[in-house]
Amino acid sequence: MIAETNGTARAGRAGAAVVELTGVTKRYPGGVAALEDVDLTIARGELVAIVGPSGSGKSTLLHIVGTLDLPSEGAVRIAGHDVAALADRELAALRARHLGFVFQSFHLSPGLSALDNVAEGLLYAGIPRGERRRRAAEALERVGLADRVTHRPHELSGGQRQRVAIARAVAGDPLLLLADEPTGALDTASGEAVVSLLRDLHAEGSTIAVITHDPEIAASFPRRVRLRDGRVVEDTANPAGRPDQAAPAGNSVREGAA
């Protein structure tokens, strides 16, 4: 129900950019440039796979898009907000309203039931407790875990845990769902279930960016962004790309690791 109404709302504004990165560079102390001059635009309703070898800057990119980290240079606009112009607490509010995160290691609270774990995702959006739990139950139903509402994380399989984490991320109907190797800790079957869930959410209108090391999963997504040494070397939405940005072939290392 909720998904449908939101889907319609999204469809009405489809095409608007949720993410706009221009010239984003991230340097860590010590001189490592995790990202260099990255331009990336993600429009509403897109399903994007972010791929690249280990250490190529995928997680860094996701953190910057998720406003968990700030770029050293360049501009970041998320949901129309210039991230650099917002104070830390305003960024927190932005995350609470518009962003959902899924992590490789789930990050569920061991002491809480699946329902309470999902409801916790709405805590900082200022939604009253009863409403949080009601929406959490709906989200669990959306990910196919309506019958696991009272289970604690240790009573769930890895795939089920990740689906609970996804339910937590989408319970607030975020503009953008970010997932960092959501299948990394799962076996093939559970991984496929998680990916097909993400695809369903996309079909319902969600905007999703997923980091993955699995070439098959990446190939099945409508759009792929490939990073190497902190630069975007391939973007299927923009095949011409910016060839000048591609790192010299000789520099590529550790392709396809882990």
Partner: protein, 407 residues
């Protein structure tokens, strides 16, 4: 913190963080503790011991005081004493011989008794060296003394005309015990001869100096021990409502020319004051309790620091879910507060129970100053906040990305 002006006119309104309700804040803090019950109990224990000690010490001393007041009421607060003070020139003043009789004529005075301190020693036998007085003194006593003091006889009789014909003595309760006299008929050595013990007095909380005395009859003392007949202390009991008036008249009546040489006192006041002051031992125990409390606070801080280190992922997760730094800070301060309040509550219950058990065992009334419970609660809340502040600030400063790095 950057707070650049919004320069693009396209302007979406700036996002405003929602504030958590009190219930959600409390629930979040409580959930943080619930998953580690063993550690919660151990780190709350220090606070509990501190609060329990302090509550029990305050309770026990308040109960003892209440008990003393009750006994004081039973003893009566209408007893006054007049003692020879110092003269203007620093010498020892003397009370006139006839002063007991004059005190008896003050309106409102019901009973008068007097003692005269003698410069002689009482010993078990003549073979005990004279220096070993055992803190005991020898006094001449008037016949009216026991009635004035409401002194009961533990055994034997008081000095009277009949038994005073021989060298006779009545011992205070402490004196009898120190001299090893258990029953009348035994003898003690005073100055240069044996005196026969004719009676032993009960305890006299209002006149501890009498408890430590060997009492000889007024005339006997003059005859056998060289007593000059000048009383050194006069005891007087009056109607309860006349105590103040009598006290005002006492000095002038006893020594009209030099009333300033007479020291008037109310023994019950001294006793009450001593009870109220509390003793050094109580202060020591209170100090120990405070130290335990402090150590408990350090324990809570320690637990919270470890907790922050262990829960980096949770903190990162909460930041990704939209928690502000302030909300993370509040969460950990609340946890620390809760932890310390838990200890404080357990300690208060324990302390009250200990006081109650003590009072019950001693047959004392149960008393606990209400402010002590408030002070204990205040102390725990203060300690909880202070102990939680540093860990909470550290938690809030954690970078959300570092916190989220795979375990």
């Amino acid at each position: 913190m950057r707070r650049r002006r919004r320069d693009r006119a396209a302007g979406t309104p700036r996002p405003v963080p929602a504030s958590l309700s009190a219930g959600d804040t409390a629930r979040t803090a409580f959930a943080g503790l619930r998953t580690r019950p063993g550690r919660v109990v151990l780190s709350a224990l220090g606070i509990a011991i501190g609060i329990a000690t302090m509550t029990a010490v305050l309770g026990v001393s308040a109960s003892s005081r209440a008990d003393l007041m009750r006994r004081l009421d039973a003893l009566g607060t209408n007893l006054l004493t007049a003692e020879a003070g110092d003269t203007l020139f620093g010498g020892k003043a003397r009370l006139p011989k006839e002063s007991p009789g004059m005190v008896g004529r003050i309106p409102g005075v019901r009973d008068v008794g007097a003692t005269g301190l003698l410069d002689v020693a009482v010993r078990r036998t003549g073979k005990v060296p004279e220096e070993e007085t055992g803190g005991l003194s020898v006094r001449a006593a008037t016949e009216g003394l026991p009635r004035t003091l409401r002194a009961g006889m533990r055994s034997g009789t008081w000095l009277n005309a009949a038994n005073s014909r021989y060298p006779a003595v009545v011992l205070g309760s402490v004196a009898a015990q120190r001299l090893g006299v258990t029953s009348p008929g035994e003898q003690v050595w005073i100055e240069d001869r044996y005196f026969t013990v004719v009676g032993i007095l009960d305890a006299l909380p209002l006149a501890p100096e009498i408890e430590r005395s060997a009492l000889v009859g007024w005339d006997g003392a003059a005859r056998l021990l060289g007593f000059d007949g000048h009383p050194t202390t006069i005891y007087e009991r009056s109607a309860e409502d006349r105590v103040r008036d009598v006290a005002g008249l006492l000095a002038a009546t006893i020594n009209p020319r030099n009333p300033e040489e007479v020291r008037v006192g109310r023994p019950s006041d001294a006793l009450a004051a001593r009870a109220a002051a509390g003793d050094a031992f109580t202060s020591l125990l209170l100090g120990l309790g405070a130290v335990a409390l402090l150590v408990g606070g350090v324990g809570v801080a320690n637990t919270m620091i470890i907790s922050v280190l262990e829960r980096r992922h949770e903190i990162g997760l909460r930041r990704s879910l939209g928690a502000t730094r302030g909300q993370i800070r509040v969460q950990f301060v609340m946890e620390s507060l809760l932890l310390s309040a838990l200890g404080g509550l357990a300690g208060a219950v324990l302390g009250v129970a200990a006081t109650y058990a003590f009072a019950l065992a001693r047959g004392m009334p149960f008393a606990l100053p209400p402010w002590s419970v408030g002070a204990g609660l205040g102390a725990t809340l203060l300690i909880g906040t202070v102990a939680g502040l540093y860990p909470a600030i550290r938690a809030a400063r954690l970078s959300p990305t570092l916190a989220l790095h795979a375990a």
